[in-house]
């Protein structure tokens, strides 16, 4: 009796293995795991469905006496030397945060200017993405694996061109591609408006228009993947705490969090209308699941990027039998 985990066999014949993850949010550990999925899961196609950049800056401040100070994961730390700084930088990078070494004066300047902080965050995001893309070129070079990476609503549109410049990465944003196995895939990283006014938040009406324009190019919905970052409304893949006007989670009279669906109604209508084969979504980290909307299988792998756990959906597509077997995996 097998007692050890086994690696799945490489896809053969009419079977295509697709791996989908989302919401890596700057976690280099998760990105490295993502690049390892062609070997680990024998995936032919690997897809990241948005929100690849992180959200947190961690300043590491020089004290002038050879030591450094930083605040990370809720506690302030004194770092005795550069090796300790490097260790913290590695830990933070694995968890998706961006560290920056500063002097006290530089820290003060950043505190004084929201624009400076935003610029710094954007620079850090793009630098890391550049490193990620170079790593992808190195690790996927010579392999017959297709790697699609989309931005999500949290991602600056500038990342699209950066990623597209690399030979191993395809950016499917706003177009229809053919990933293999007779499939088509339309991709959209925009989301319905959130309280945080993210870079790719748009009104539902505009989301509907973009989806309509994209979907009109689909020749066979029954063989189409909707790779849309935001999940469809009220499908169990989009439950999140409801917020009040101060962005504080609302509570019931009993004190429980009030949960509410926050997905896109436009996307739900589009899926109900077109009934594609599959919907791949992210956006709500804690709403992992595989459900159905009519005949469409809709999935959200969830995310635990801060713990370095890569959540994914592993799909086996048999083009001849027209069967799709999705599975939630955590690596």
């Amino acid at each position: 009796m097998r007692l050890r985990a086994r690696k799945p066999a490489r896809s053969e014949g009419g079977e295509l293995t697709i791996y989908f993850a989302s919401d890596l949010h700057g976690s280099t550990l998760c990105w490295k795991k993502f690049l390892a999925t062609p070997s680990f899961y024998a995936a032919d196609v690997i897809i990241v469905g948005g929100d690849v950049t992180g959200k947190f800056l961690v300043p590491i401040v020089a004290q002038g006496d050879g030591t450094w100070r930083a605040r990370y994961q809720g506690s302030e730390r004194t770092l005795a030397d550069v090796s300790a700084v490097v260790a913290l930088e590695q830990m933070a990078e694995d968890a998706g945060a961006y560290t920056v070494r500063l002097s006290l004066d530089e820290l003060g300047e950043l505190h004084a200017s929201a624009e400076a902080r935003d610029d710094l965050l954007t620079r850090c995001q793009l630098e890391r993405l550049e490193q990620w893309a170079a790593l992808a070129d190195e690790r996927l070079d010579g392999r017959s694996v297709r790697c699609f990476v989309s931005g999500g609503n949290d991602d600056d549109p500038a990342i699209d061109a950066l990623l597209d410049a690399h030979r191993s990465i395809e950016v499917p944003e706003g177009r229809i591609v053919e990933p293999g196995g007779g499939l088509q895939m339309l991709s959209l990283g925009f989301a319905n408006e959130t309280p945080w006014h993210c870079p790719r938040d748009i009104p539902e009406s505009e989301l509907a228009a973009r989806l309509h324009a994209l979907a009109s190019g689909v020749t066979e919905p029954g063989r189409c993947i909707f790779n849309v970052h935001v999940p469809p409304y009220d499908t169990g893949l989009d439950m999140a705490p409801a917020l009040d006007e101060t962005l504080t989670p609302r509570r019931s009279p009993a004190g429980d969090l009030v949960m509410a669906p926050v997905g896109s109604t436009a996307l739900r209508e589009a899926i109900e209308h077109h009934q594609p084969l599959l919907g791949l979504h992210g956006h709500i980290h804690e709403a992992q699941g595989i459900h159905r909307l009519g005949s469409t299988v809709v999935c959200n792998p969830g995310s635990e990027y801060q713990e370095g756990m890569l959540h994914g959906i592993l799909l086996k597509w048999d083009r001849h039998a027209h069967t799709l077997k999705p599975q939630l995996v955590i690596g």
Binding site: M1, A5, R6, P8, L29, K33, A36, T37, F40, Y41, K55, F56, P59, V61, R69, R71, Q73, G74, S75, E76, R77, T78, A80, A87, Q90, D94, A95, L107, L110, H111, R117, D118, L121, P195, W196, C198, G236, P241, P249, R251, A254, G255, D256, L257, M259, H285, E286, Q288, E304, E307, G308, M309, L310, L314, K325, Q327, L328, V329, I330, G331
Partner: protein, 534 residues
């Protein structure tokens, strides 16, 4: 080497607001849950068993267990910092050792916790309400009240009251964890005031301001106190053995049956705020505070009631001897007698009642969260992971736990099956597996461990491994004692067979689920196997 300090300039840089997982359970909630699972109210079992370990020190035995259980608490807390996901032992053992071991351990714990819901609901009647009402009957010399006490302790009373308790906690948990924890806080507040009063009364008894002897003789008849002691001695009870370290060590199994269960707060690690420290502080803090409370109670009970009488009454009562003429000899009843007043009797018994009322709910939280984790991972039908859209509670898992508990309650109330059953050995084995996982994890999952807030050192070694190793030593001793100590009553053939059967069933379930899912094209190993990276 990194250290931590608290007087830095503002090192927090705010950039953009961001959403994220909102967790509900505070460190104080975890602490309270841990204290509740420890079930300080079961101290009456400790004082009742004392006589069978001549020379044992209750207080020192409890202190030994605080240290041993505390090491396990550190291991659990650090595990929860690395894996802040609900499921407790299932998550920890699966990730650190092997998925089949993890599931079997989880299956074992879930079985015994679901069993415990029903038995603890029954205990509300047997060991808290019935003794309190019986004491009232004695103090008021009312046969009507005494009859009520008898009814509450009868099969029908146990079943009815137990069912009311179980329906109540199930409803509260279906509505949401926050509601449950609010109720928990309210009951705990009432219990705290009652316990404080109990300690005051015991203290007054200990310093001689109240005479337990006088109070006992007043209700049982002149000279009854002395007669109880004499009868026990002539019946074979050893009331004057000198202090014995070995007997103290042997006696440690009794406070263990309470203190170890503070570990179960790890079952909802996925719902806690500040996962880096919540479980560590909550679990270990709960064990220390509850343990100190137990030591204080043990000390004051000895001083107030008298070591000789405490042991003699237990000895005679356990034998069903006619030399002990009152309806009960356990600590709640004796404290009621000491209080000397029906009003005070109710007030000093409230903490026994309140804490016992909360214990079935605490067990239900554990079993339902484990079933939820199975459903997510695919080792159980996906319906096990179904959550209410409005309350975000695992309704199916809670419902299944309730059904198992209802069957347990019926068996407990109307049969003798459960009089010989104990969960201790099975649960200690599971705790031991977690401890083993804590020993090996820093090496097996080095990158994950070193990148986590659990990366703490003790004398140059990973604290997690040290704590795990200490916990294993403690548990090996306990399991050995559980097998050989007939007074502890946890080694019946029924218990041993059922423990083995449940564990094996867990393995069978896992591999059957794995095979079934494989036929559906789903590889369950992929839910738990971490992708290696360079």
């Amino acid at each position: 080497m990194a250290t931590r300090t608290s007087d830095a300039p503002n090192l927090k840089l705010s950039t953009r607001s961001a959403s994220g997982l909102v967790r509900q359970v505070s460190t104080f909630d975890t602490f309270l849950y841990s204290v509740l699972q420890i079930a300080v109210q079961f101290i009456f079992l400790i004082t009742a068993a004392w006589v069978f370990y001549p020379g044992a020190s209750m207080e020192v035995a409890t202190l030994i267990v605080i240290v041993g259980a505390g090491m396990l608490g550190v291991a659990y807390g650090l595990f929860a910092a690395i894996y802040p996901r609900s499921g407790g032992e299932y998550v920890f053992i699966t990730r650190a050792l092997h998925p089949a071991l993890g599931f079997s351990a989880s299956f074992t714990m879930t079985f015994w916790m679901a069993w415990s819901i029903g038995t603890n609901a029954a205990i509300v009647s047997i060991f808290t309400l019935s003794p309190m009402i019986s004491a009232l009957g004695v103090q008021t010399d009312s046969s009507a009240i005494a009859s009520i006490g008898d009814f509450v302790g009868s099969k029908t009373g146990i079943f009815l009251i137990g069912m009311v308790v179980m329906v109540g906690v199930t409803w509260a948990l279906m509505k949401g964890m926050k509601l449950y924890f609010r109720i928990q806080k309210l009951f705990f507040a009432i219990a705290a005031v009652s316990l404080l009063l109990t300690l005051v009364i015991l203290f007054l008894g200990a310093v001689g301001a109240i005479s337990f002897r006088g109070q006992f003789d007043a209700v049982a008849g002149d000279g009854s106190f002395a007669k109880v002691v004499a009868a026990a001695q002539s019946g074979g009870a050893n009331l004057h053995a000198g202090t014995s370290a070995w007997e103290t060590l042997k006696f440690a199994i009794w406070p263990t049956e309470s203190l170890l269960f503070g570990l179960l707060a790890a079952s909802f690690a996925g719902e806690v705020k500040n996962p880096a420290r919540n479980q560590l502080v909550g679990i270990v803090g709960g064990m220390i505070v509850a343990g100190i409370g137990m030591i204080l109670l043990e000390f004051l009970a000895r001083k107030a009631i008298g070591s000789d009488f405490l042991r003699a009454a237990s000895y005679l009562s356990s034998d069903g001897s006619s030399a002990y003429t009152l309806p009960d000899a356990k600590l709640p009843f004796l404290i009621s007698i000491l209080s000397g007043s029906p009003v005070l009797t109710v007030l000093v018994n409230l903490w026994f009642v309140m804490l016992s009322l909360l214990l079935p709910g605490a067990c239900l939280i554990y079993s339902s969260r484990c079933m939820f984790a199975w459903g997510i991972d695919g080792t159980a039908p996906s319906s096990f992971a179904k959550v209410s859209r409005t309350n975000h509670t695992p309704t199916v898992a809670i419902g299944i736990s309730f059904l198992i508990a209802a069957i347990t309650l019926v068996l407990f109330a109307y049969t003798t099956v459960f009089s010989v059953l104990s969960a201790l050995i099975g649960q200690c084995v599971v705790f031991g597996l977690v401890a083993l996982g804590a020993v090996v994890l820093p090496r097996r999952r080095r990158r994950l461990y070193e990148g986590s807030t659990a990366n703490l050192k003790f004398l140059g070694r990973p604290l997690m491994s040290v704590a795990g190793a200490g916990g294993i030593v403690f548990l090996v001793f306990l399991i050995y004692r559980a097998f050989v100590d007939d007074h502890a009553g946890v080694n019946s053939h029924t218990t041993l067979y059922l423990t083995l059967v449940v564990a094996i069933l867990g393995f069978v379930w896992f591999y059957a689920a794995r095979a079934l899912r494989a036929r559906e094209g789903v590889d369950l190993d992929l839910r738990t196997t971490e992708i290696p990276v360079e």
